[in-house]
């Protein structure tokens, strides 16, 4: 029972060996694809202002898909020694022979060039526990005596792909992220950032922001539910993007007629342009298809949905490089989605540091607004809500993409361009495409802020966003 290191093999060596084994055992007509990924993940977690969970580890995953005599099966494993690989190939071939025919088999990815997406940072790949702990220390120190909780994460992936059609590819990538809250008297403020390099993650800056927001969120009042104009901060915008990606721009859902997406139709406000950008991720998907930037919405008009080879074949198009391990069940999903910021001449410029610039709105709730982008969107509001974050959003109906969820980590009532008081959390029930539909976007920040996903390697990036209406259906009291 040995790992890659002991086997003296690269990921590409192992992937090629698996494909070769399939041909040895099932003959040259068997179609096979293999992907091998080494994943080093470390996460330092803190709560009550101390590190309470601190983990690191390495995993190697081999995934094999075979198509033999019209039948398909998938196998996976962590054993990369010769016996382990032979066992994986053997049981996957045996499974394929026992499976019903697969008439929708889309075939293998043909040979095609795969270009590196860059963004490998050795310092992040080999970050030590102390490197993460130091950032936690900085965050905790920066919240100025408030309670702090969150994590600092580093990850490294090295992956390779090979198939029996002659396609092969390899790549490496790193990511770092920090997500923290500051807490005071039941009020929380949040700051998150995802980057390709750990040295871009500034625990002090994030801690200062979270603390400013937490202090501004203290002593909230309860407002009646109803429709309010809103400014959504990047954390809340990330939730919009994730739900649009999972249920809307998902090629399987689209083929099944369970997606709102209608390519060629102006379904969004002209201010909305959405691009799935794989820069910084492995440059190929699970099927070996090269990953490239994909424009899903251009100036309000839906242009595309994400496809793997199976959903693409069903839709009569080509894969966009979004094959994922659970793609057959959950569908191909864009997982590096960016809402482009307003162009030059738009509403606002760069960010400010609340530690030095204070509250850009100068209102009676200092710290509610911590960057100039958001300040520019809040300033023209007559009456509305500033919302930091959404939580526990779930789909009520996939076709209309009606979603319920709650606000979290700070809500403020804005009157005449000024945050006048903190507000208790709301529950909302809203159709996301309708909320972003033509004529609904009243303002868009210039600077997208990358928010980490729960899964490293995925991220959601958008600037703050001002919307004409959001349907709050319940208050904190029910």
């Amino acid at each position: 029972m040995t790992g890659l290191r002991d086997a003296g093999a690269t990921e590409l060596d192992v992937a090629a060996r698996v494909v070769e084994l399939v041909h040895q055992l099932a003959g040259p007509a068997a179609e096979a694809e293999a992907i091998v990924v080494r994943h080093d993940l470390a996460l330092t977690r803190f709560a009550n202002s101390f590190i309470h969970q601190n983990v690191a580890g390495s995993q190697v995953t081999v995934r094999l898909r075979v198509h033999v005599d019209g039948r398909t099966a998938t196998g996976g494993g962590s054993l990369v020694d010769p016996d382990g690989l032979r066992a994986l190939v053997g049981r996957t071939l045996a499974a394929a022979r026992l499976c019903p025919p697969d008439p929708a088999w889309p075939g293998l990815t043909p040979p095609s060039a795969v270009h590196s997406n860059g963004l490998l940072d050795e310092a992040t790949a080999y970050a030590e526990p102390a490197d993460r702990a130091d950032r936690v220390r900085a965050f905790v120190d920066a919240v100025g005596g408030l309670e702090a909780a969150g994590y600092c994460r580093t990850s490294y992936r090295s992956g390779a792909f090979a198939n029996s059609a002659g396609q092969s590819a390899q790549g490496r990538t790193t990511e770092a992220a920090m997500d923290g809250i500051a807490r005071t008297g039941g009020a929380d403020g949040v700051a998150r950032l995802c980057a390709g390099r750990l040295d871009e993650v500034d625990g002090t800056l994030l801690g200062v922001r979270a603390a400013a927001k937490a202090r501004a969120a203290a002593d909230p009042v309860e407002l009646p539910p109803g429709r309010y104009e809103v400014v959504l901060e990047p954390a809340a915008v990330a939730d919009l993007l994730q739900n649009l990606a999972w249920s809307g721009f998902n090629g399987k859902r689209y083929v099944e007629r369970q997606s709102f997406a209608r390519p060629g139709t102006a379904q969004f406000d002209p201010a909305v342009t959405l691009v799935d950008d794989p820069t910084g991720t492995l440059p190929f998907d699970l099927e070996g298809t090269p990953r490239r930037a994909l424009t899903l919405v251009e100036a309000g008009t839906t242009r595309a949905v994400a496809h793997d080879r199976r959903s693409a074949a069903a839709a009569g198009t080509t894969s966009t490089g979004h094959g994922t391990p659970d793609g057959s069940t959950f569908g191909p999903v864009p997982s590096n989605l960016r809402l482009l910021g307003a162009p030059e001449g738009g509403p606002t410029g760069g960010a400010v540091d609340p530690a030095t610039d204070g509250d850009p709105t100068g209102g009676p709730v200092p710290g509610a607004v911590v960057d100039a982008d958001t300040a520019a969107l809040v300033a023209p509001m007559t009456r509305g809500l500033l919302v930091s974050d959404f939580w526990y959003t779930r789909v009520l109906d996939p076709l209309s993409l009606v979603i319920t969820g709650l606000t979290r980590n700070g809500v403020w009532l804005v009157e005449d361009g000024v945050p006048v008081r903190a507000v208790r959390n709301f529950r909302f029930t809203e159709s996301y495409p309708r909320a972003l539909g033509p004529g609904t976007v009243l303002g868009l920040g210039r600077r997208p802020v990358r928010q980490p996903d729960r899964t490293d390697g995925d991220w959601w990036e958008g600037p703050p966003l001002r919307l004409a209406s959001w349907n709050f259906t319940g208050g904190a009291s029910g």
Partner: protein
């Protein structure tokens, strides 16, 4: 080198590197799933993974490290690295950590399993899904889907206190769904629930579900729902079926009584709890009909085991007795912080993840009524069943659930079918309004409980029966 040898080497290496306590788990995980759509097999996946995770306590800092191999060198390196990670935690130190006392256990345990799920021919399992989805499709469903999943887990646990435990846990389950797609919305019906029923048992569970026998009914209901009247909005008496009540328990009781949440250890992500330890033993959680147990000893239920992942034996305990909150889900460290004398609810979803507080089987004891009696006693209400969406706030208070189907209840009789049923409320107010509870308990299994950073998927069980709640807000929509 045996699995026990590898775990012992890792523990010893952690102690040699300065740990004052260490434990290690070797886990061999086998997973199989198959999904079908409209009479065709969509995907067959078989995964196998083997590795070791070691946890070390240095001073008052925890560290964890995992490796995908079991060589002596790899195990020792994992132990050393776990201690190094733990030492880094001291850069942001917390209060002293103690563990509740535990007798060292040397034991072996296996779950009951009449028919080994991995021993059933793939062709038989595939035929079942094909037949069931063909039947639903033939009855008019636009989309008929079927799924089964099997987990076969062997684990070997060693601690520096002398524990030496091996377990073999087999879990499986499955289900089908039928979706009808209208112009503006979709309607789904599932049997026995979406993605199915699961247990710590053998294939006999799946056979008992009679998936094919229920396919026509759910297809008919999904089509009928497209034209059924909307669930009315307002306050009414709400009768929940046992499947929906199981998820209600999971979200608004199970998570709320997790001690790590109560202590703030999950504040930045999963959230905290509305429960205050000072009120343990005195707080009124629900009506006197509400008796909830934490019971990992229930044969066949999905949250059952012989020992948790700290080596604590499975023991049945009360969580709520006659409506009063009396117990929590805890680990040895969190229990010590809270001044309690037992853990017993700590698990990891694999060798690469840190064990943490998780639900076991958290469910209701039987009530004195039947569903028919509850309906007969209701003059004006709504009966809802089978979960479609779920959302709850980060303190586990404010929830909103959607169900697949509902019926009017008028003058003691079940009436018209209603579509898009939702209900919302505040946990303790809701549970205090429960005035009728059936004796018809079903131990529902939830195989997809997400928690932790990095994320883990837990398997939990929830005995539940139909019940009535008074004055509940229903019919929330966008």
């Amino acid at each position: 080198m045996t699995e026990f040898d590898a775990a012992a080497a890792a523990v010893q290496a952690a102690l040699d590197a300065g740990a004052r306590y260490a434990d290690a788990r070797v886990m061999h995980l086998r997973y199989e799933s198959m999904s079908a759509r409209n009479g065709d097999i969509e995907e067959l996946t078989q995964d196998e993974s083997l590795g070791l995770g070691v946890r070390a306590l240095v001073g008052s800092g925890w560290g964890f490290h995992a490796v995908p191999e079991l060589s002596d060198a790899a195990a020792r390196e994992a132990g050393r690295r776990a201690a190094q990670v733990a030492a880094a935690s001291a850069r942001v130190p917390g209060p002293p950590i103690t563990l509740t006392p535990a007798e060292p256990v040397v034991a072996s345990w296996a779950s009951d399993c009449a028919v080994d799920p991995l021993g059933v021919a793939l062709s038989d399992k595939g035929d079942l899904l094909v037949r069931a989805t063909e039947a639903a499709r033939g009855q008019g469903a636009d989309l008929a889907q079927g799924l089964y999943q099997v987990w076969d887990t062997r684990k070997w646990f060693v601690s520096s206190e002398g524990h030496r435990i091996d377990q073999h846990i087999r879990e499986c389950g499955g289900g089908i769904s039928a979706t009808s797609i209208g112009e503006h919305e979709t309607q789904r019906r599932s049997w026995p629930s979406y993605r199915g029923q699961y247990g710590t048992t053998g294939w006999e569970l799946v056979e008992s579900l009679d998936l094919t026998g229920h396919a026509a009914q759910i297809a008919d209901e999904s089509r009928a729902l497209l034209t059924a009247p909307q669930c009315p909005a307002g306050e009414t008496d709400l009768i929940l079926g046992d499947e929906q009540l199981a998820l209600q328990i999971h979200e608004s009781v199970g998570h709320a009584i997790e001690l790590d949440r109560i202590l703030g250890w999950e504040a930045a992500f999963a959230g905290t709890s509305w429960l205050d330890l000072a009120q343990l033993g005195s707080l009124r959680y629900g009506s006197e009909l509400m008796n909830v147990t934490i019971d990992p000893t229930i044969p066949g239920a999905l949250g059952s085991f012989g020992f948790d992942d700290e080596g604590s034996p499975a023991v049945r305990r009360d969580a709520v007795r006659e409506g009063r909150w009396v117990g929590v889900l805890a680990g040895r460290d969190s229990a010590a912080v809270a001044g309690l004398d037992h853990g017993g609810s700590v698990r990891a979803d694999g060798w690469a993840r840190l064990p943490m507080v998780r639900m076991t089987n958290v469910g209701l004891e039987p009530g004195p009524h039947t569903l028919d009696e509850i309906i007969a006693a209701t003059d004006d209400g709504v009966l809802m069943d089978v979960n479609r969406s779920w959302s709850i706030d980060d303190r586990r208070l404010n929830f909103q659930f959607g169900c697949e189907i509902a019926w009017e209840v008028r003058n003691g009789r079940r009436g018209r079918m209603l579509r898009n049923p939702t209900y919302t409320g505040i946990g303790p107010l809701f549970w205090r309004s429960m005035d009728m509870l059936s004796s018809e308990i079903v131990p529902w299994g939830t195989p997809n409980c997400g928690k932790g950073q990095p994320g883990q998927i837990g398997h939990t069980g929830h005995p539940a029966a139909p019940a009535r709640f008074r004055g509940v807000r229903v019919g929330v929509r966008a």
